[in-house]
Symmetry: C3
Subunit: 658 residues, 3 copies
Amino acid sequence: MGVLYHGADYNPDQWLTRPEILEQDIDFMKKAGVNCVSLGIFAWATLEPSEGNYNLDWMEEIIDKLWAAGVHIDLATPSGARPAWMAEKYPEVRRVNADRIRQLFGERHNHCYTSPVYREKVCAINQMLASRFGRHPAVIMWHISNEYGGECHCELCQKAFRKWLKEKYGTIDAVNKAWNAKFWSHEYRDFDQIESPAPHGEHSVHGLKLDWKRFVSYQTIDFMKWERDCIREIVPEAKVCVNMMYHYDGIDYFEQAKDIDLASWDSYPTWHKPGEPLWETALDTALMHDLYYSVKKQPFWLMESTPSYTNWQRVSKPKRPGVQLLTSLQAIAHGSDSVMYFQWRQSQGASEKFHGAVVSHDCREDNRVFRETCDVGAALKAMAEVAGTGKEKQAAIVMDWSNKWALEDSQGPRNIGMGFWQEMQRHYNGLAQNGVSIDFVHPQEALDGYKLVVCPLVYMMSEEFTLRLREYVKNGGTLVVTYWSGVVNETDLVWLYDSPHNLTDVLGVRRLEVDGMFDGEKRACRAVCAGLPETAQGSVLCEVAALEGATPLMVYDEEFYAGAPAVSVNEFGEGKAYYVATRFEKDFYKALYKTVGEGVLESVYPYETEEGVLATRRGEYVFLQNFNDHPAKAGEWTLEKYQTLVLKQTQDGYEKVF
Amino acid sequence: MGVLYHGADYNPDQWLTRPEILEQDIDFMKKAGVNCVSLGIFAWATLEPSEGNYNLDWMEEIIDKLWAAGVHIDLATPSGARPAWMAEKYPEVRRVNADRIRQLFGERHNHCYTSPVYREKVCAINQMLASRFGRHPAVIMWHISNEYGGECHCELCQKAFRKWLKEKYGTIDAVNKAWNAKFWSHEYRDFDQIESPAPHGEHSVHGLKLDWKRFVSYQTIDFMKWERDCIREIVPEAKVCVNMMYHYDGIDYFEQAKDIDLASWDSYPTWHKPGEPLWETALDTALMHDLYYSVKKQPFWLMESTPSYTNWQRVSKPKRPGVQLLTSLQAIAHGSDSVMYFQWRQSQGASEKFHGAVVSHDCREDNRVFRETCDVGAALKAMAEVAGTGKEKQAAIVMDWSNKWALEDSQGPRNIGMGFWQEMQRHYNGLAQNGVSIDFVHPQEALDGYKLVVCPLVYMMSEEFTLRLREYVKNGGTLVVTYWSGVVNETDLVWLYDSPHNLTDVLGVRRLEVDGMFDGEKRACRAVCAGLPETAQGSVLCEVAALEGATPLMVYDEEFYAGAPAVSVNEFGEGKAYYVATRFEKDFYKALYKTVGEGVLESVYPYETEEGVLATRRGEYVFLQNFNDHPAKAGEWTLEKYQTLVLKQTQDGYEKVF
Amino acid sequence: MGVLYHGADYNPDQWLTRPEILEQDIDFMKKAGVNCVSLGIFAWATLEPSEGNYNLDWMEEIIDKLWAAGVHIDLATPSGARPAWMAEKYPEVRRVNADRIRQLFGERHNHCYTSPVYREKVCAINQMLASRFGRHPAVIMWHISNEYGGECHCELCQKAFRKWLKEKYGTIDAVNKAWNAKFWSHEYRDFDQIESPAPHGEHSVHGLKLDWKRFVSYQTIDFMKWERDCIREIVPEAKVCVNMMYHYDGIDYFEQAKDIDLASWDSYPTWHKPGEPLWETALDTALMHDLYYSVKKQPFWLMESTPSYTNWQRVSKPKRPGVQLLTSLQAIAHGSDSVMYFQWRQSQGASEKFHGAVVSHDCREDNRVFRETCDVGAALKAMAEVAGTGKEKQAAIVMDWSNKWALEDSQGPRNIGMGFWQEMQRHYNGLAQNGVSIDFVHPQEALDGYKLVVCPLVYMMSEEFTLRLREYVKNGGTLVVTYWSGVVNETDLVWLYDSPHNLTDVLGVRRLEVDGMFDGEKRACRAVCAGLPETAQGSVLCEVAALEGATPLMVYDEEFYAGAPAVSVNEFGEGKAYYVATRFEKDFYKALYKTVGEGVLESVYPYETEEGVLATRRGEYVFLQNFNDHPAKAGEWTLEKYQTLVLKQTQDGYEKVF
């Protein structure tokens, strides 16, 4: 029988002088059905109060008490923030900003990933923890550092960057060519001349900036591997995870996922935004759940979430009654094997003291947040059997951090923002509203097994990837490619001659021009087929393409490109390729993917559901969730406001699990 | 018989080569009824052209001429800006910004308050002035520096900060505890590790930032005391004042007021803003007048104001005809014993050359601004008898700079702004529109004698203060406490267990949750008592409290907390305590304080007055001012557009003074 | 027979390894009617790959091939961007920002104009180019550097600034007086104490900032002269030009124009902005064409334009079909002898890769942009006879960079922006819509021959200029002076006593007050004469003036200055002087200049034309251009959408040239 984990970040080091608090913690954990905590994040100053002087006894006591209460440990390495003594004695551990100013002591997540001193100190404390607790039965997972991110521009990092470039390109001439460095006379004669982008230095050479982003991601992962390997030197079988973040731009998480055992993420949607129905916020969150399922194509953990509100959003709104349960179970529905919170108990001071927590400053168990946390505990216990189950391969959306970096750094055709995530979300929602299971795939991953591959704003495509897309369609796959895809190669050089590169015959169209649209500007389109909305509005970019064999489904209905395809389809080999020339309004995509999916994709719950009810599936389990604040129908079921229904598919139909 | 002072900042040092200008000055001063000027602000470069080479003769000549014309002197120390030679020879006098970059020479109000060199140079020039002019009969007051403010992060200041912390806390462990420095592993092992907040250093530890603000305020006052004491070494009986500023955040003016003889401030309201009636701007200004009356609980001076327009506001609009007189007399109505302007004569060049002045660039006496200044001169002479009179104790609003600093630095529950002054203003206006005399009190001041105490957003409350509030109510006082009060202690650590701390039984409510509201978001409330508006709208924060004995007066009418108290009242001992759970629309507060004040407070002019007519009282004098641009009624009187009426209360009723 | 040049920036150095590309270039140039290219801008790294190691053979080959194809060369000096080796070896060539931080290598247009090393290196490469190609028959012009601009705050520049000041003022006391440095005790005792304005230093002394701007302009031009003279040392007869920019603020182009043979500019209007008719964008562009005609009062070159879109605007929109031809010919219509593009071929990488070009990434000749470029080539050939013709003197608008600097740096009366160019544009459009030929004149230029002189926002006027304006009117000229003119002298000191200085009797009005207006705020005015709109709305600043002899034409109709003149006219000597007290809505000015021009000015095409059709004249050639997207009438002609008609005026009427 599987286990779904329920728990929180636990920071008892803040309360060591308050035994009544620590005692209440254990008592309340039992009441809330907590069976796992992330322990020791940011505890370094307590674990090593002065250099080489370790103090781990308090942690041993805590771990033993937790374990006695049935609580597992996701043991943190404390590298997310370093002690003051280290910052003082070894300035090199402090990050240097892009303006080349070294940071002072303070804050967190701001050490140099290259610094040998920092690596040495991290290794020492990690190994100390591993030796002492690595084989404790409670410890089931290592929480490596915390929310890795950011970048350092110190001399050590500059050298590491140059080394990375040399290994990648071999010669400086290859670098110049890859970056088109002749532009503005920017050729380098030596690797030593290369410096990271700076506000007061180079910031116009796209290839340099792209490679700097790649290097930062590489170096961060390299540091993570160092942490992991230090632990495994002591406990070779140690399992490790990192916590990823919403829309985080700084790390290629597909790359990072290769070197960990478990992906996890910290989910803080802005629920209850005025003017946005809850189900839309839920789909935004669902995309991220599916992305972090996809980075390893296996169940992940919801590592952090808030049982009530955050304190760092512009405005903090508590989750309405029932929403904590609903949104916690949404993570399970999308493949999480845990519901964890930041944090167990509200801090008494400093920047996050008003962040919601299971135990509030009032230290009471009769308040709403604690009671609703108990509800989650009970629900997870009731549906533990879903733990470990995976998802079916249906649709794949191509996601590539390098592409996003290149796209967003590009000057032109629209410098007020391309809305990368908005484009992703439109395709995701269109599929999700048709009840389709969605994976994200990296361009280097195999496309086999997917019925549909979607390329939204895949501006950057390597020769190799375009050739695989051709093969995929030729062999019967269905492909959707949007405007502004297939424009540049992997170093951000524009593909000459054909565009989208290697795909003009696959799509049956050739890109001619791009009309950038101001915010609020719209271009009328009309359908020339059945099934799609009769009229729709293009925005953001209106790409003008020559029809070279495709069948138009929608056409522009105004401007000098009236009649040019806005959506088209082309048969290529055994498959079909759709081209979407612009960004339509949100509700266009449900119809689009109904058309695209016909005969290709199947709903995970093929019965009529009201708007606001979302259906997902793990293994044999179907989750129906009502994000409306009123009852709603899904097939034969009526769901109460904010209700989650978990059904097990059997030969005879569905059996209610929860 | 008293004197009301009338005059301006006078900078003859800018015109020493133009004798016809200096001559016109004296002539025009006589015509305008000027009897006092602030002399020598920013004259240092003229007084000490090179190090130790003093040049005071020109000033003596000016002082003698002024005195001969009946003009008193508020003699300035010139420390608001230093000469170029000093900045060049002693870099330490120049301030270091938070980014740790030392400023170049230039601007003003930007010296290091800690620098021993600066203190020495200031002492020398101050004593030179004191020796020469300190006993001149014209000199009735010392204008210490100018608009003190800002902060320095140099090494001298860092050391002073650490010393201040050591004196306050004793041990580094006490600091760590006070700041909850375990959070993010931020514990210090030594005072030397502590650095002031920095954009590239620590800026998340609320306790550190709060103490830094307190230190800056302390050090500024310490510098002011140094200036004062240098003068008093020469002239022990010298009276000193400083000029304070609108909504100024950087100095605890209650603390500063303890060390001066006279409080004064520089008042530059944005009169004639489109869409705001003049009386609203007037109430905004009135609050500040009352605050600067309150810092010493004695008459203050209006040290600077403009007779026409400023030049530094976004848009400069001249005061409409009659408004200079109206607004000048408003200061008198609220306890000022002077009307002074910046400046006497417009500068010919540099940044403030277009600031309004009594004498314009046209050097004419027939223009509007000069004629209206003469009107003010005549009016002040006519009502001189009010000079020195004080105000009656009625309502007290709690004001605490430390509280404001902590509140605004807090992360959560609303990071787009808490609107501290807007909250203060609502309570102030509600009281003022009921004709109540208003003081501001610091939490350390005694509450005796006040019929009403209001705590608007008093987020930070010390144990001691909460206990005194209890006593105050118990003994028959009336208390109003708003949402988000009594949350943290004096080092910004959250009070555990009860909230508002020590006041749940006084108020009869206990805080449960806080719903942050976006700008424009509103929450419907409805009255469950007579006297308050039937419906009203909550905003900013909607606090949800459990009723524990209080009687609800308004309740929320929507969301999951419908029915929870929005306003409530509780009897406690001999007194009453009101709780206001949210921020209502502006016009709610007049009704609120009518209800609260019933049987408790009395109007200073208990007759019906039209909207836009404001009534205030000093001693036996009632001021009625019509801020409407049309005639309006107040009791039996009809006031012309912009008219001020000064009445003396006698046994038989009112006697018109002006 | 004249020649109109057609071509582009040509950067073959980016394609030296791709012979098929270089071959296609020549082929396509012939097809597009290209007869001139700007060669070698930003080619330094290719021309001098390491210090002193020159590589010019490739360029010789290119030049020979171009010349063989009939293409002339505008040969660039490569100083717009320096090679990496120079930045590395000689840090002094890299600019220092206002924050005193030296830039790293990267970007362009960012060298120190003072650095002796940079001057030496530039001289060497320039002379190398001059020796090799200076007498090549293809080389008809030198393109000195590229888009000069920006400023450097290094120690070398500080010294040069002090030297410039010393030469200008002689003594430090003269500086103090000119800057009114007594204000805030800012007097200098020595030139060495003066530093350039800085965010962390002085930024309130207007005179300092104004002189710094003048120095930066001076030093930039000095550098340009150095470049020019190095070339002329080798080729004394070399002709030189620089490319100027839209609304560029950093250089006094009147001053710069004195030292070049040909003015040129880079024109990138934002055509097709939503909500703005094309003819308005065209008038905005026309103003700049006329300005760059005016800096030398002779035909200029359109040095850069885009055949389709830019990539650096907020949104990139391609020119609609026909608009490339229309807008290219607009330059000719206003006095350009060329139509040149940036760039010939789109770069494959880096920041401008998506900028439109004659040859697109698709390398095809059948796309729209290439075809329309061929149309331009043909048109220029057809109307070559207009080359070299000049414009008639009619109206002159006073333009003075120093005035703009002083005006915009001023604190008060409206710090949210004075809208300098918007004011200029209103007067320009009003005149242009009446078919008047417009020049811009510098205050130091003679006013003889102009029928009308307009002073829009000429805030700064020297004694000498005011006297010449008096003479101009006295002798029969017509003058228009707006609000906020004649306020300060040439060092930004306010004129005392009379205002506008020396013009109160000329205009018959005297400035009393200025009412600053918020955005969106309006003040009603009404006509008190025939010919002007019955009502109009004042904005930005409403100046209140005393009538001292003038006849009001419009008066304010509200506020305390109702009845004061909003527009007035005064007879002075043989001439007339108009005063415009505020900024009116855009469409007021056509009527204003119809009234002002009656009997004074004549249209270049005195027949009725529909709105959106613009008429201009060079020599005997009248250009009629229809900026509407529909046919429109002009006199007896009907112009198709976007059509340009070129007519030659003969004794019998008009003869169609194109």
